[in-house]
């Protein structure tokens, strides 16, 4: 019996065993258990999608979305934003000469200044961004070209950066710190903003460079090797990235806490942008304690130390001043999207209502049996 029935039994065993989660097969009779689960009689809700059943959902969605959309739209419109393209692509541009002559190999900085006028005062904190267009920071090899361990302060990674950094891994036989293409292409224009008051004097607007990076980046993800003690020592035996003028421990001469890998401009740059047109937070203009607007309307001058060549890839460089709301920067899209989707829902709801009225009435009445 065993041998011959063996496979059949084993089959059975397999089936019931494998599927019988509860070992129901032990009952003497082979009669299956009469449980709701096994008999596939679990209590269930069976929605039926017909015009009649679905149309409330459409109206509800429409009714919810449209107000949200309006709210978002209004919020977005209240945000003030000012943008200057200082690429210098055009011959009339202030930075045309800089742009034309400048390359990564230039040693002397090129300065240019762009005057502009704010029509409206900017209240509250104003965020100053630099924006790049046509810059594919999301290029696959570019994104990968970094060594997070090195940036995290790992000494061994400092001395021996990851292969991902190739071809910006070593230079002159020494490991590059920070290695990789991202770091190598660090945005290094310096932007300064001056307010020209009514009597023509240029008042430098204080730009705060603290707090532009994510807190976790600054404090967790990016670490200097050996702490912040002596960066020069820590980074000895490494070489600076090819395109850099200054070594990493000398990025911010004004604030020793902002040097090395934890330099906030560097950190912001290292967070690669999602899209080829992007902006990155450069500085924050903090709200003044007084009631005067942070940036009153009037004339301003943007002083640019033009270090960053973008002409090779038809890039554009911008400076953006923006206030922000609870939902971020100025972007009317979401509001419009909500309003649109809400209206479509409402419209489809109406269509369904018509359909329901025309074709579905019997069905409905049938639901209420006579």
């Amino acid at each position: 019996m065993m041998a011959s029935s063996y496979n059949a039994k084993e089959e059975d065993g397999h089936h019931s065993g494998a599927s019988n989660n509860g070992g129901a097969g032990v009952v003497k009779s082979k009669k299956p258990d009469n449980t709701a689960f096994k008999q596939q009689r679990l209590p269930a809700w069976q929605p039926i999608l017909t015009a009649g059943t679905v149309l409330p959902a459409f109206f509800v969605i429409g009714l919810i979305f449209i107000p949200i959309g309006i709210g978002l739209y209004v919020t977005s419109n209240n945000i003030k934003e000012y943008e200057i393209d200082y690429t210098g692509a055009d011959i009339n541009d202030a930075c045309y000469n800089c742009a034309k002559n400048f390359s990564w190999n230039s040693t002397t900085p090129c300065l240019c200044s762009v005057p502009f006028t704010l029509e409206q005062p900017f209240e509250s904190n104003v965020f100053m961004y630099y924006g790049l267009s046509n810059f594919y920071q999301n290029h696959r090899r570019y994104v990968k070209s970094r060594d997070d361990s090195q940036l995290n302060g790992d000494r061994s990674a400092l001395k021996n950066p990851s292969k991902e950094c190739e071809p910006y891994r070593t230079s002159e036989g020494k490991p590059i710190a920070p290695c990789g293409a991202i770091a190598n292409s660090l945005f290094n224009d310096t932007l300064e903003l001056y307010h020209i008051d009514s009597n023509g004097t240029r008042n430098a607007i204080p730009l705060v460079k603290k707090g532009i990076a994510w807190w976790t980046d600054k404090h967790v993800k990016f670490r200097n090797p050996g702490g912040n003690s002596n960066l020069t020592v820590a980074f000895q035996d490494t070489s600076k990235p090819v395109n850099w003028r200054k070594p990493v421990f000398d990025l911010d001469p004004s604030d020793p806490e902002n040097n090395g890998f934890i330099n906030e401009d560097f950190i912001v740059w290292m967070r690669t942008a999602a899209l080829p047109t992007f902006r990155k937070l450069y500085r924050i203009i903090q709200k003044k304690p007084s009631t005067t607007p942070t940036l009153p309307s009037g004339k301003y001058v943007l002083e640019i130390t033009y270090n960053y060549p973008v002409r090779s890839f038809d890039g554009r460089k911008r400076m953006i001043l923006s206030t922000i709301s609870w939902m971020g920067g100025k972007n009317p899209f979401l509001g419009i999207a909500y309003i649109t989707v809400g209206s479509i829902c409402f419209f489809l709801g109406v269509v369904l209502l018509i359909i329901h009225h025309k074709y579905d009435t019997r069905n409905n009445s049938a639901d209420i049996p006579s």
Partner: protein, 1589 residues
């Protein structure tokens, strides 16, 4: 022993030499087992030992072997390739190790599953290998306990009672005095009866215990093979003598020894070479249709993938190209520092993107499908409705991966016997010596069973209505008692419980009370008694028994044959499995010629070839047994005297002469038969007091009325086989001392073997009359759907017997070609028989078969029945089970040559075309008759999706095996299919197993349809294997069909739920799941694709690699698994009540190719939404790659889940749980992942992104907006579709929602109206544009047109119900129920059962010409009402005419002379009330003449007339024109039967036959190609197709 062998040496010398010669020719085909006990070791070590190892792997081989196996699946190779591609630096997209993760995961899941299974196998192997058995130890010279695994070929094994055989063992010794060993083979073949095995002949006479030491010989036998029923070989003794070995000597591994104290055998095959193991095939792997379709789409996915990659690669090339030499800072050099040219960059990128987009090929799809299928199998297993309490068995899914094929089946091929019918043979009636005994009481009793069976409610016992007319009252009371006892069971528990209990307690197959109890026909009982009395009288008066009047002698012989001619084993229930010993003398069956000579010593034969040694053997034997008395010439007197002594000694109950019930112990005898027919006959004989009381290999003991116990010396048994279709026993009759051969077998065979009667003598004339009458009755029986068996006998002289025996023994000992020799030998014996009579055995339909067939047909399934039965029986069973409908016309194809067959097919095709293409108005006309058939339940299958060309008409096709053979020829198969496919039901009779499978294969391959074959016996195995889905009925016929099947059902009716519910669910679940998988992956991957436009086609992904890789496996997997497992589109009840819903699966409506593309388009749309809403929302912001990508991932996940929610039809807590689990899993994982390591997971550095996102209101706003926007179109579409053009399934779902009361009403209507009533709009069920038949069909459904016309766009709710006929239940219980065919009870008027034989005849002349369309259906209601008996008779002569000489041509010429017309008259009156006497005429006189089939044609119409005048009288005059019509042309006359209880009173003239309007062609010159059988096949309901040259 040595002496024994020497004794035999001389006798077997000749045969032996031949064997040796043969065995030398093919030395490799045998195995040799040498036994030299002198050696310490077994010399057969080189054969496989008995250790079994069914595991696939060893510890070492597991990994490579399993991987190797897994890599057979192409997808796995693909994914591994992709993972490996990641290790190439220039193209790598992900962290290489990470990219391996999914593949490794998938592989390891499968590997773990395999490992677990293998481990279970291993454990079970170990358990089996370590079972104990007694093996003879050569060293210790005794039997010692050994493990099974230590057993080796050549070992001697001692078996004790109830022990399981460890290997295939040759039986050498048995403690049984008869040298038998009883085996239970249930585990091998499922048969519960005991089998007897015999000790090898040379060890037969061993009186002392078998001593292995003395055994010294060589066993030569076949190589191991898996044929359970074959074993041959011989023992070569040291003396040089040989002994043939048969399957009867072999005990197979796995069987259990029963009833035998001890047996010793030698192991022949061990371990994996045993037949049981060789027969063990693992589960079957098939690929389902859905999976094939899916694979096509997987292929398309690959194409899409490549296109996307190509597109992006070109884009990247251009992107690189546009920068020219000015390399931008972000275009990083390759790791080697080399600058990449645009082309090279593009090529690299192409490879990279294949990796990135790999998700498009759903890696988890295959695993998910497997998981879902396992769950589906689990649920199918667990379904209580598929559990049969009677046999305590439930459905088994043996193939795990084709559950969804159950939902797509289009053609069902069914066996008949045992599948549609119970395979419980019930004796119904018999004819003996030309006199029919109709067994009315028996019929009534059976009807009673059926009522009890079919009624569920408590009904007062119908015993009151059961009045006895003529038979004894005891019988009647017994019947009533029976029904009462059944009822009692039902009160206490469920009836089935009781049944099961009874079955379990008895352990005997074929012994339901229904089968056991036979109510004898009083007339026949009287005759038997009389006969017994006379014989008794003669015996006492010393008269030779042969002086008995011949009819009485025939009766006696008839019952003798029933009792003796079988292999039934008798056992007594008190000591289960203990055979009843009624041994009168000890003798073995004649096995050698010497033996025979010895037994018949005083004959001349002594001087023949016998040698002194052989006689000494015989002497020693007999002296051993102390039966020397037998050696003296045994005369009837001495035997009888002995008998009486024996009787006295045993004190057995004296024979009873009256009809008193038998004593209990007598009645308790149980019969264990190999086939249910046998048991039925033995029980029938017992009812006539001819009981079989004991069977031993050499003798059969029979108890006869007045005569007491007689024992027949059993000289030889020629077992039943399907080629001979008969079995015979050779016995020595104790009363006459004649050597008598009793043969029983199929009538077609036996009738040919009947000795042609000699018309000169009166005896001969009587014989001839007997044969003719018997043939008539056989036709009757067949027309009633009974299985017929003919009983014949033959008396042999001793010389003849000896002569035959000699040759037979030679044949038996031959090794080569033994089968053919045996066949020839049997043929020599079974000729010139004398016909005794015939029996009609009813094989009752299984419960619920008609309903199941009706409902399957409603479900759009084409049902073909392929049976080996004869045409008449098959046709009648087909009517009974509603396969054929009296409404419909039947094309009968019987041809006896290839050309004729071709012509016939051509005709039929033509007929179908003309009839059905030109007569759509016909159908329309019939549709508007309001009262048409309120019980019409079938939707014409033409509503199935076949295009107009394949429209299925209301036609039945009946074809016999021979014609089928021609039709299946390559040149004709297309035509055959064209005809068959347009018929609603097809019935192939007398088909061989091979034909069955050929038909299935043909339909499957040519029509490209899904086929399901269902059967229960070995003859269905090939068909089951060929079909897409094979279903075995685990019934009484063994396990072979089950072993070959994918699903094993206990009963046929479970097919309904299996297909309609589980099949539908499985299909719809899987189809939806697969579609969803494609959608999901496409949608997800497209997100990354859109991103390529914004990353310079650099192959960058904004979705973190972890999400990208694990999205499929983890985050989105569970909900769809749950939905794929649990979703029910429509409830089981609705699915069963509205079988039409099944068509959605047949038409693959859940998963059509366009749906794949629609899903793809939807996927691309949704991904666009999911991509661009965040894109614009974050445009020109300081968002970084992964802070932007993570919301997109989240949005995609949410969208996908909500999408799944929209597609989920049934929400249970499991769905909700799984969806929330998925969402929370995603957030948990991403939070943990984003918090875990600030510097790992290069290149993405998602540290703290999720945490930041969760603080961002924008994220939540997106999460709300995007899924809504993405799913708006689909949701809207679904809503519109649900309202405007809901699929039938959706309507079914709506029905589910209704309150139960309303629902029941509607479903009842729906059942009647074939679902059309539920359609809100007319085209609802007709799927698309209304086909030409569309509207017609609607109207064909009862009373529907009214509904349709008035309220076309609604569900017919209660208000509609009022318009319908008052009692629209689809199946009024008991009304349309399968009545046992041939049920003789007076039928109630209006009873609509499917037997309108001949009732439509009396119709005005000319009516049957090409009738106006629409003519034949709305048949007058009163048409088949209680018709006067005369009504039936008038079968127009023309009707008979086209009938060919019939099936009987194999009959030797000169067999039947033209029967005098008056021959048929002397029927017992009242015998055949409901049956038209005309039924018997089908063989026109002269039909049986020894004519070659084709040459009887040019007969004038008047030829048929010589018929009893009274016969023709009731015929309306016009009917006489029929001969003229028939002869006028080659025609297909279709005579559709009368309507059922239709209402509108119409003149009877409406019933009609349709004839092909073909050009008349030579009036009388007809050649008959069409050979309708000569039996009456429901004459009216048939189309006869004649071909005229």
């Amino acid at each position: 022993m040595a002496r024994d062998t020497e004794d035999r040496a001389a006798g077997t010398h000749k045969a032996e030499r031949r064997q040796r010669g043969r065995s030398k020719k093919k030395p490799k085909e045998t195995r040799t087992v040498r036994v030299h006990t002198g050696h310490e070791h077994n010399p057969n070590r080189h054969y496989a030992n008995n250790r079994i190892k069914t595991t696939k792997y060893t510890v070492l081989s597991f990994l490579p072997k399993n991987l190797f196996e897994q890599f057979h699946r192409f997808a796995n190779v693909y994914f591994v390739f992709i993972a490996l591609l990641n290790f190439v630096p220039v193209v790598n997209a992900f962290q290489p190790e990470l990219a391996l993760a999914p593949v490794v995961f998938i592989l390891s899941v499968t590997a773990i599953k395999d490992l677990w299974e293998d481990y279970r196998r291993h454990r079970s192997d170990t358990e089996i290998n370590h079972m104990d058995c007694l093996v003879y130890s050569r060293a210790e010279r005794r039997y010692v306990e050994r493990f099974w695994k230590e057993v080796q070929v050549g070992d001697f094994i001692r078996l004790r009672c109830n022990e399981i055989l460890p290997a295939d063992v040759l039986l050498l010794s048995s403690s049984d005095p008869d040298r038998l060993c009883h085996l239970e083979t249930a585990t091998l073949d499922g048969e519960t009866n005991l089998k007897q095995r015999q000790v090898v002949r040379s060890f037969f006479d061993l009186d002392c215990e078998f001593d292995p030491l003395k055994f010294n010989g060589i066993i030569e036998c076949e190589k191991p093979n898996n044929d359970l029923n074959r074993f041959r070989g011989y023992i070569l003794h040291r003396s040089g003598s040989r002994d043939a070995l048969y399957k009867d000597n072999l005990l197979l591994r796995g069987c259990t020894v029963r009833n035998t104290e001890e047996a010793v055998g030698i192991v022949i095959y061990a371990g994996h070479e045993t037949k049981a193991m060789l027969n063990n095939n693992g589960p079957r792997y098939k690929r389902s249709k859905l999976e094939r379709q899916m694979n096509v789409h997987v292929f398309w996915c690959v194409v899409i993938l490549l296109l996307m990659c190509l597109f992006a690669a070109i884009g990247h090339g251009l992107w690189v190209f546009q920068y020219g030499d000015k390399r931008p800072v972000f275009d990083v050099l390759s790791p080697e520092g080399a600058e990449l040219s645009p082309v090279v960059a593009a090529v690299y990128l192409f490879l990279t993107l294949i990796i990135v987009f790999q998700v498009l090929i759903p890696i988890s799809l295959f695993v998910s499908i497997e998981i879902v299928k396992v769950c589906q199998v689990f649920f199918i297993h667990q379904d209580q409705d598929l559990y049969d309490e009677d046999s305590d068995s439930r459905l088994q899914c043996r193939a795990l991966n084709i559950t969804e094929d159950l939902g797509q089946t289009q053609y069902v091929f069914s066996d008949k016997t045992g599948t549609l019918t119970e395979n419980k043979m019930v004796f119904r009636r018999c004819t003996v010596a030309g006199v029919e005994y109709s067994h009315d009481a028996n019929a009534r009793r059976l009807a009673l069973y059926q009522e009890v069976d079919s009624e569920e409610e408590e009904v007062p016992p119908p015993g009151g209505s059961l009045r006895r007319d003529s038979s004894s009252s005891q019988q009647s009371s017994r019947v009533v008692l029976r029904s009462l006892s059944t009822k009692t069971h039902r009160r206490t528990g469920s009836r089935a419980d009781a049944k099961r209990a009874s079955i379990l307690s008895k352990h005997t197959a074929f012994s339901s009370p229904m089968e056991k109890d036979v109510t004898p026909d009083p007339q026949l009982l009287d005759k038997v008694n009389e006969c017994g009395g006379q014989m008794d009288f003669m015996r006492f008066h010393g008269q030779p028994v042969s002086q008995l009047p011949s009819d009485l002698a025939d009766i006696m012989d008839f019952f003798m044959a029933l009792t003796v001619c079988n292999t039934v084993v008798v056992s007594s229930p008190n000591q289960p499995r203990q055979k009843v010993r009624m041994r009168l003398e000890s003798k073995s069956p004649v096995k050698t010629i010497e033996d025979f000579i010895k037994r018949f010593t005083p004959s001349r034969l002594t001087s023949g070839s016998s040698s002194s040694s052989s006689s000494s053997l015989a002497t020693s034997r007999s002296s051993n047994r102390g039966c020397s008395g037998l050696l003296s010439s045994p005369s009837a007197e001495s035997t009888l005297a002995k008998l009486q002594e024996e009787q006295a000694a045993l004190g057995s109950a004296p024979p009873r002469y009256d009809g008193t019930p038998r004593s209990p112990e007598d009645g308790e005898l149980r019969y264990e038969a190999e086939s249910p027919d046998e048991a039925a006959l033995v029980y029938a004989a017992r009812a006539y007091k001819c009981s079989l009381v004991g069977r031993l290999p050499d003798q059969v003991t029979v108890e006869l009325p007045h005569l007491g116990k007689l024992s027949f010396e059993l000289l030889h048994t020629l077992g039943f086989d399907s080629t001979r279709k008969r079995m015979s026993v050779v016995v020595r009759h104790p009363l006459t001392d004649q050597i008598t051969v009793y043969t029983k077998g199929a009538d077609s065979v036996i009738m040919d073997l009947i000795k042609p009667p000699d018309t000169e003598t009166s005896k001969g004339r009587r014989q001839k009359k007997l044969v003719l009458r018997t043939q008539n009755y056989l036709n009757l029986y067949a027309a009633d759907g009974l299985r017929t068996l003919c009983i014949a006998k033959k008396v042999l002289s001793k010389e003849q017997y000896a002569c035959w025996l000699q040759r037979h023994l030679e044949a038996e000992t031959a090794i080569q070609g033994r089968e053919e020799l045996l066949f020839d030998s049997a043929l020599r014996l079974e000729t010139n028989l004398q016909l005794l009579g015939a029996t009609g055995i009813e094989d009752r339909l299984q419960d619920g078969v008609p309903e199941t067939i009706a409902s399957l047909r409603q479900a759009g399934l084409q049902i073909w029945v392929l049976t080996g039965d004869k045409q008449e029986t098959a046709v009648n069973v087909a009517y009974a089970c509603k396969l054929l409908d009296p409404e419909e016309e039947i094309l009968t194809l019987n041809a006896d040559s290839h050309e004729a067959c071709a012509l016939l097919l051509e005709e039929s095709l033509h007929y179908i075309q003309t009839k059905f293409l030109c007569s759509s108005s016909d159908q329309a006309a019939k549709a508007f008759l309001p009262n048409f058939a309120p019980f019409e339940v079938y939707p014409p299958s033409s509503s199935s999706p076949h295009s107009a060309a394949f429209t299925v008409h209301r036609l039945g096709l009946v074809i016999d095996g021979r014609t089928l053979a021609y039709a299946l020829d390559q040149s004709l198969e297309d035509r055959f299919l064209a005809v068959a496919r347009s018929c609603r039901s097809v019935l192939c009779c007398r088909s061989t197993p091979l034909q069955k499978s050929t038909v299935v294969k043909l339909v499957r391959n040519k029509l490209k349809v899904m086929t399901l074959a269902i059967g229960d016996g070995a003859n269905d195995v090939s068909m089951i294997q060929v079909a897409d889905v094979g279903v075995g009925i685990s019934g009484q016929e063994g396990m072979q069909a089950v072993m070959a099947s994918d699903f094993a059902l206990p009963r046929f009716r479970y097919l309904q739920k299996l297909l309609l519910v589980h099949g539908h669910w499985s299909y719809s679940r899987l189809a939806n799941m697969i579609l969803f998988f494609f959608y999901k992956n496409a949608m997800f991957v497209a997100l990354v694709f859109w991103y390529q436009f914004y990353c310079g086609f650099s192959g960058s992904a904004m979705i973190d690699q972890w999400y990208l890789i694990f999205f499929n496996l983890m985050f989105s997997a569970f909900p769809q698994l749950v939905t794929g497992t649990l979703d029910k589109d429509v409830s089981a009840e609705t699915l069963q009540q509205l079988p039409q819903l099944y068509m959605s699966g047949q038409n693959s409506e859940e998963y059509k190719p366009y749906m794949f593309w629609m899903n793809m388009i939807d996927a691309f749309y949704q991904s666009l939404v999911c991509f661009f809403i965040p894109y614009f929302a974050y445009a020109d912001s300081d968002v970084d790659v992964f802070t932007w990508g993570t919301p997109i991932t989240t949005l995609a996940l949410l969208t996908i889940l909500v999408h799944l929610g929209i597609e989920t039809r049934t929400w249970t807590w499991m769905n909700c749980l799984s969806i929330s689990f998925s969402v929370s899993l995603f957030f948990t994982v991403s939070l943990c992942y984003n918090a875990s390591c600030p510097s790992c997971f290069s290149p993405s550095n998602p540290y703290w992104s999720m945490q930041r996102l969760l603080q961002d209101p924008l994220f939540y706003l997106l999460c709300v907006l995007t899924p809504v926007a993405a799913l708006l179109p689909r949701y809207f579409y679904r809503a519109c579709q649900g309202t405007l053009f809901p699929s039938p399934v959706q309507v079914g779902r709506q029905l589910d929602k209704l309150p139960s009361e309303t629902r029941r009403n509607i479903l009842n209507l729906g059942g009647v109206e074939a679902g059309s009533a539920v359609r809100p709009v007319p085209h609802f069920l007709s799927l698309g544009t209304p086909s030409p038949e569309g509207p017609d069909e609607n109207h064909q459904r009862a009373g529907l047109h009214a509904v349709d016309a008035t309220e076309k766009d609604t569900l017919p709710y209660t208000k509609d119900a009022a318009k319908l006929p008052p009692e629209p239940r689809p199946r009024p219980p008991g009304d349309a129920e399968p009545r046992p065919p041939g049920d003789d009870e007076p039928r109630p008027p209006g009873d609509d059962e499917p037997r309108p034989p001949g009732d439509d005849e009396p119709r005005p002349p000319g009516d049957d010409e090409p009738r106006p369309p629409g003519d034949d259906e709305p048949r007058p209601p009163g048409d088949d009402e209680p018709r006067p008996p005369g009504d039936d008779e008038p079968r127009p002569p023309g009707d008979d005419e086209p009938r060919p000489p019939g099936d009987d041509e194999p009959r030797p010429p000169g067999d039947d002379e033209p029967r005098p017309p008056g021959d048929d008259e002397p029927w017992p009156p009242g015998d055949d009330e409901p049956r038209p006497p005309g039924d018997d005429e089908p063989r026109p006189p002269g039909d049986d003449e020894p004519r070659p089939p084709g040459d009887d044609e040019p007969r004038p119409p008047g030829d048929d007339e010589p018929r009893p005048p009274g016969d023709d009288e009731p015929r309306p005059p016009g009917d006489d024109e029929r001969p003229h019509e028939t002869s006028e042309a080659l025609k297909t006359s279709a005579m559709s039967a009368s309507s059922r209880a239709a209402s509108s009173p119409r003149p009877p003239s409406q019933a009609a036959s349709v004839q092909l309007p073909l050009p008349p062609d030579g009036d009388a010159q007809r050649v008959r190609y069409c050979r309708n059988s000569d039996h009456a096949v429901r004459p009216a309901a048939r189309t006869q197709t004649d071909a005229v040259l």
